[in-house]
Amino acid sequence: MRAEATAPLGRARFTELSLLVWVAALAITGFVAVVATERSSFSPAALVVPLVFLVLMLALHVFLVSIRFRGDQLLLPIAAGLTAIGLVLVQRLASDLLFQQLSWSIIAAGAFAATIVVPRDLTALARFKWTWALLGVLLLIAPLLPVIGREINGARIWIKIGPGSFEPWEAVKILLVIFFAAYLEEYREVLSHSQRRIGPFPVPPVPYLVPIVAMWGIAMLVMVFEKDMGATVLFFGLFLAMLFLATGEAFYAVIGLGLLILGGFVAYQLFGHVQARVDTWIRPFDEDLRFDTGFQLVQGLYALANGGLFGAGLGNGMPDRIPVVWSDFVFDAFAEEAGLAGALALLALYLVFVYRGMLIALRAPTMFLQLLAAGLSFIVALQTLVIVGGNLRLIPLTGITLPFVAYGGSSLVTNWMLVGLLMRVSQVSGRIRGGGP
């Protein structure tokens, strides 16, 4: 009886609703600030985009309530908040792309809702693991094919079908998490409790090593032929992290990192595009680079320097001087106008997202679901760290997107599907434990 009485309250998802109020405040003040600074006057038309977006988010909330969804209540507001910051920044930096980005967020919301409803049984995903792997590899090499493959900004990571082009890597990352989770759940015993050891190092039976080495080979191929170092790092980093999650052998991760660095070193010697990236990272201010390959990074650092503690204020900086700022350098643009305070708040949002995801992983009932949730959370964390680290010149710059915030349709849609999957796992955790979150 007691459960009956509290059920409506649980289903109402009050936490989610109250956090969405903050998202609304953020989106509306952000748009008002940007538009008012740009035009020195304010017209209500500027509120159309944030209002459409807020209605969309509210619709998702109502949808979750209506299907009596009992999963996590933090992930949706965080993703909504990040997407709202993204829209504000598109308005600020490339307002001609605003309509496209809004359309993409509507598609993303649809993809999210579909993910919540469609897979009736998450555990069943594990059964088709080789299908996912094959599909993933096909998507990964698709940009190399003639006709549909496209090279944009020097990286051959796009495919064009009909009117739209997208980066298949974005979809591949989710397929890979599912595949790794299923594969590792099945074989973790053999991989982690190997009988044979060379010194302190575990040596798993050769047949089980084959997929691991194959993954490394594919990662290197992507780097060499698609010229996308970001995807390589993300792809291989995910693989190592999940191997570690399943086996607890930090040794695999160390060896893997060694292989990655070795591969990177060989690539540096052999391929101009890798060399250019590394040189630009080490000495962007040198005479020969600062107006050439280092220009974008140097302009980004100028933007950061202008940020200070509290920023220049939305609309008051000059982040538009950074080439392609809306996709590669949104973090620097945001830090210029919101300052160190804003940059840290943004990083904190991602960290809370990742913690929440990892918490869901800890509470998940089966190992497959644990690996799935942890892998999905890890992807968001690594993608954020790699692009922000590149923007901050902590590591060489790679052209991957800042999740939810950077302009780009394929990224937004897949990240929202990722949120959907995480929330599905959280719902199962809740069910097994017999209570709401």
Partner: protein, 478 residues
Amino acid sequence: MSPISANIRSLTLTLAFAFLVTSIGAAYWTVLASDQLANDPFNPRLIAATNERPRGAIVDRSGASIATSEKTDTGFTRSYKDRSLAQVVGYASTRFGLSGVEAAYAESLIGQDPADPVSIWRARYLGDRAPAGQVVLGIDLKIQKAAADALGGRKGAILAMDPRTGAILASVSVPTYDANQIVDRSKQESAWAQVTADPGHPLLNRVTQGLYPPGSIFKVVTGAAALEAGFDPAKKLRVDDPYQADKSWGDYFVRSASRAHGLFDMSDGFRLSENIYFAQVGLEIGAARLTDYARRFGIGSTPKLDLAAAKGQLSDSGAIDRPTLLADTSYGQGELLVSPLQMALIYATIANGGVMPTAHYASEVRDNEGHVVREIAPGPQGQVISPTTAKTLTTMLVGAVAGPGAFAFGAKIPGVDVAGKTGTAENRPGQAPHGWFVGFAPAAAPTVVVAVIVENTLEGGVAAAPLGAQVMRAALGK
């Protein structure tokens, strides 16, 4: 408890640590490194300030305008008044960045001088910009005009400096360019293409960045080294043109400019600019001592200056490693390369009782209301030679201008004792030599030192000396 829970926790902690490192990175660029980057001359934010707000004026020592900001319909435009100061003042272009004083004092000109931290903090954290400041140069437009007129269209450079303070009074480098065109949006592309393609390098400030063999004006360094080694300046040395120390020199000889045969003391050596005399002095005191004094006088090191300056060299290898190079270096040839600024500093040291001043173009930064925010008075660099040596050299340099048959007679000013030295610097084969004059006046209490170089003139130093006199007259009001 699932067997992989511990792994999830370790991975989460690793990620949290990576986020911490990333946050520190963000703090580094936004706060710690922000000063340096905000003032980088290529930072478009610094340059945008040129258009959106008036930029501070650059004025000469009496307050006369050299560069000002003028309001147009598209914002503020920089206006440069004196073409002969183009390389010194530089330009503030939204397209090509900043150079010269515009770059070196960029923060001061937008009201954020480093000596005024309150304005900087207000600008950074409150977005509150102080009104533009003003940079006062040591340049005296009267002397500047005399120097520009003296050099006219000839390629070369003239520098006038106060030997007591190191303040630069005039600085001319020919060929020059019109900075107004570099900042004019309708003309800047073609103007820029033109100045950068010009084989005469009009953007180069020959005063501080032009490197030339010094020729005879370098003999004061050899003279100073010898005097301080106890060498007797009255001792007569035998000069017989052509000269070689011994047969190991093969077919290499030091030549005398006047094909001289006779006995020379040091005064004669300076007055008649005798290469063979100074070659012998150099060989007598040795390479180590000459190298030591050349270094003390700043040869081969970048002079301290508020603008860019070249460092030149003592020799290709940086050392004097063979007798013929020692002999050639002693009278200013060999592989020496110096800038007019470096030579002016050497003569300023002699004028100043052996103390080398620190050169500087700007002398004050003022705020919008005319209050002095920062005084630029870098103080002396130190005692290079003793006051006695300086006095002896001064006496001999007066003789080099006014003595019988003196080479530098063209630098004479009626009623004033001028100390100075001409030089005719041998060039690459097939090119006419460069003509030098460096000197100071009045010899008893010098207030101005002048360095003149005229590139590729068949007359050599004889062409340069009268230009030095014209500039000194303007400085002394004679």
